[in-house]
């Protein structure tokens, strides 16, 4: 028995993980990498149904373009083209030499020109953290520009901004070409305009191999945030460049009667993306969840429509027609 114990112990002691784990799956083979990515998207992507995408057909179309000897550039081009069929800017392939993206913003008209604002509306604007702001229309209206949800702002900074405009008739919150960022900043910003804790939507995430397999609805709440609230009318400016977190923000505003969306529909981006890595070391991400409005509709991925449509007229660069319309609404 003693010898048996000793032998077994030495056997186990001298063994290592290499004989216990499955083999290293690293590979530069183009077809193996294609299959890995196709399978991951098939298992987890969240908008096949909404976008009416036949993913098996994509495999039939794109896989024959590759073979065992395809170059890395050829592999990238085929994988990028296949991913762009999803028409989703939360879907990217990241390599050391190129990054794929669909570029939703380019599918619609451009509706934001910073120089027009700077030269003709807010030449002396304050810059408080990531917020650019000033009075408009003889101090009747406050204008706040938030260019990216990637940028943070402190509670004290937002307190200062809202205190400055507390006596205005309304605020214009400009989120045009705000491409998103941290979802955490959505409730942080919108919570300043919310009178009470409000259910504004839901999120569902893929939980099975079927393209319609989703888990239970996760509630999306907005709670009043910070020391100072602004509960007068607010107009939020949006366009095709308003993506991801801005789309979440836009969907959530529908639950608040004091907030109006103006401009063009957002670009979408209603799915939270996850990230992963291919056997050759390249990385990727794609949407795995759906954002639903209070009625359970998942239109956000294709863009949240504005309540009042307006467009920038590029023949006259001295005027921002969308901003003008917002001022008119608030007066």
């Amino acid at each position: 028995m003693k010898n048996l114990l000793l032998i077994l112990s030495i056997l186990i002691f001298s063994s290592c993980e290499k004989i216990l784990f499955k083999p290293d799956l690293g590979s530069v083979n183009p077809l193996e990498n294609f299959d890995y990515l196709w399978n991951e998207v098939d298992k987890k992507y969240s908008y096949f149904e909404l976008k009416n995408i036949d993913w098996n057909q994509m495999k039939a179309t794109y896989r024959p373009m590759l073979n065992d000897n395809s170059s890395e550039v050829e592999l990238f081009e085929v994988l990028a083209a296949m991913l762009n069929e999803l028409k989703d800017d939360h879907t990217n392939l990241i390599t050391p030499f190129n990054i794929s993206s669909y570029n939703v913003a380019a599918t619609g008209a451009k509706n934001y020109r910073p120089r027009t604002l700077q030269d003709y509306y807010i030449p002396d604007a304050w810059r408080t953290g990531s917020l650019t702001h000033d009075f408009l229309s003889n101090k009747e209206i406050g204008y706040i520009r938030y260019g990216s949800f990637m940028s943070d702002f402190s509670d004290a900074q937002m307190d200062l901004v809202l205190e400055r405009y507390k006596d205005t008739k309304g605020i214009i919150l400009d989120l045009r070409e705000n491409g998103g960022g941290s979802i955490f900043n959505v409730p942080k910003l919108l919570g300043r305009f919310a009178p009470s804790r409000t259910l504004v939507g839901y999120s569902i995430t893929r939980d099975g191999p079927g393209h319609k397999d989703f888990g239970k609805k996760e509630d999306f709440y907005i709670t009043p945030d910070g020391n100072i609230q602004y509960l007068k009318p607010v107009i939020v400016l949006i366009d095709k460049g308003s993506y991801s977190a801005t789309t979440f923000f836009a969907v959530a505003t529908k639950a608040f009667p004091n907030i109006t969306l103006m401009g063009d529909a957002t670009g979408g981006g209603g799915g939270l993306p996850n990230g992963g890595q291919l056997p050759n070391g390249w990385t990727y991400r794609f949407s795995i969840s759906q954002l639903l409005d209070l009625n359970g509709n998942n239109y956000a991925e294709n863009g949240v429509p504005a309540d009042i449509n307006a467009a920038f007229d590029w023949t006259d660069l001295t005027k921002d027609e969308i901003l003008e319309k917002a001022i008119e609404e608030l007066k």
């Binding site: 919570g191 888990g215 996760e218 709440y221 709670t223």
Partner: protein, 300 residues
């Protein structure tokens, strides 16, 4: 688990459990009567070579080097042993990316882990004599990993808990020098005094293997609710407990007793775990070289 080790493990576990049950009623009364008990507080530092693979985000192994440290309260007698240990480790990990013939890609990950280890051992008289001491028992090993890999975009953070109820076996061989010994090294003829030394081998085999792993597809959707979301809820909202997989741990330690009752130990620790979770597996292993200082605090 690989069939190569399934059978030997089964034999080991069955043989240990048989001996254990037959010894219980004889051994326990003798412990208190005849064996002095030493109490130690231990401090350990070591170099580690962790390896992991998280199939939820990548098919690639991540390999690295880092530091580990731990502290324990140890109660040890000839007949019984109990240890409660808390440890942590940090390391930098590089993905084992295959060679590119264009531009090489690479991923770096920060890897931290926290360990809690509790173990009770009892002497197995049948496998012990004047020079050999064999003990068997059980252990609880709880490991919480925290990984950060910015290249994985929205899944940059990886968290998993691996908790195991383990069967334990320990063999200690007395390799003391009992007489004065003089070496003849040509110009030098050092005299070596008697010293108490031991070689200790510990084996832990997971019997009940729990793991807390991400759900089918994971994103941090709790952040939708912003500051209403607690950090724990944010991090773990899509995670699920599973009872599956395996875990093995072995340690070989050389112990040298000092005249003041303290002990120095040098050890090699190997550990491996496979946590299938509900959907995609996590695997980890580590090779660790460790120095331990045992501070003798009390003897009864």
């Amino acid at each position: 688990m690989n069939n190569i080790i399934k059978l030997p493990l089964l034999i080991l576990i069955l043989s240990l459990s048989k001996n254990s049950s037959s010894q219980d009623h004889i051994l326990l009364p003798q412990i208190e009567r005849y064996y002095p008990t030493d109490y130690y507080t231990t401090l350990s530092f070591g170099l580690t070579n962790p390896i992991y693979r998280d199939f939820a985000t990548s098919p690639l192994f991540y390999n690295g080097i880092g530091l580990e440290s731990s502290s324990a309260s140890l109660k040890r007698s000839d007949a019984r042993e109990r240890i409660f240990e808390f440890g942590f480790g940090i390391s930098a990990q590089l993905a084992r990316v295959p060679q590119s013939n264009y531009i090489q890609s690479g991923s770096i990950s920060g890897y931290g882990k926290f360990d809690i280890f509790y173990q009770e051992l009892w002497k197995l008289e049948a496998l012990s004599d004047a020079k050999n001491n064999t003990k068997i028992g059980g252990a609880i090993n709880i490991t919480q990993n925290i990984r950060a890999n910015p290249g994985l975009q929205n899944n940059a953070i990886g968290l998993e808990n691996i908790s195991n109820l383990m069967a334990s076996a320990q063999w200690t061989r007395d390799i003391s020098r009992t007489e004065v010994k003089q070496l003849n090294l040509w110009l030098f003829k050092p005299t070596l005094k008697p010293v108490k030394r031991e070689l200790r081998f510990l084996l832990n085999v997971g019997m009940l293997n729990f793991n807390y792993r991400p759900g089918y597809a994971y994103s941090y959707d709790s952040e939708l609710n912003g500051m209403d979301t607690s950090p724990i809820q944010w991090a773990l909202s899509n995670y699920k407990w599973s009872l599956n997989g395996w875990r093995l741990k072995t340690e070989l330690e050389f112990l040298k007793y000092l005249s003041n009752g303290n002990v120095k130990g040098w050890s090699y620790v190997w550990e491996a775990a496979h946590a299938p979770g509900k959907f995609e597996a996590f695997q980890m292993a580590s090779h660790q070289l460790k120095y331990t200082f045992y501070i003798h605090s009390e003897k009864r």
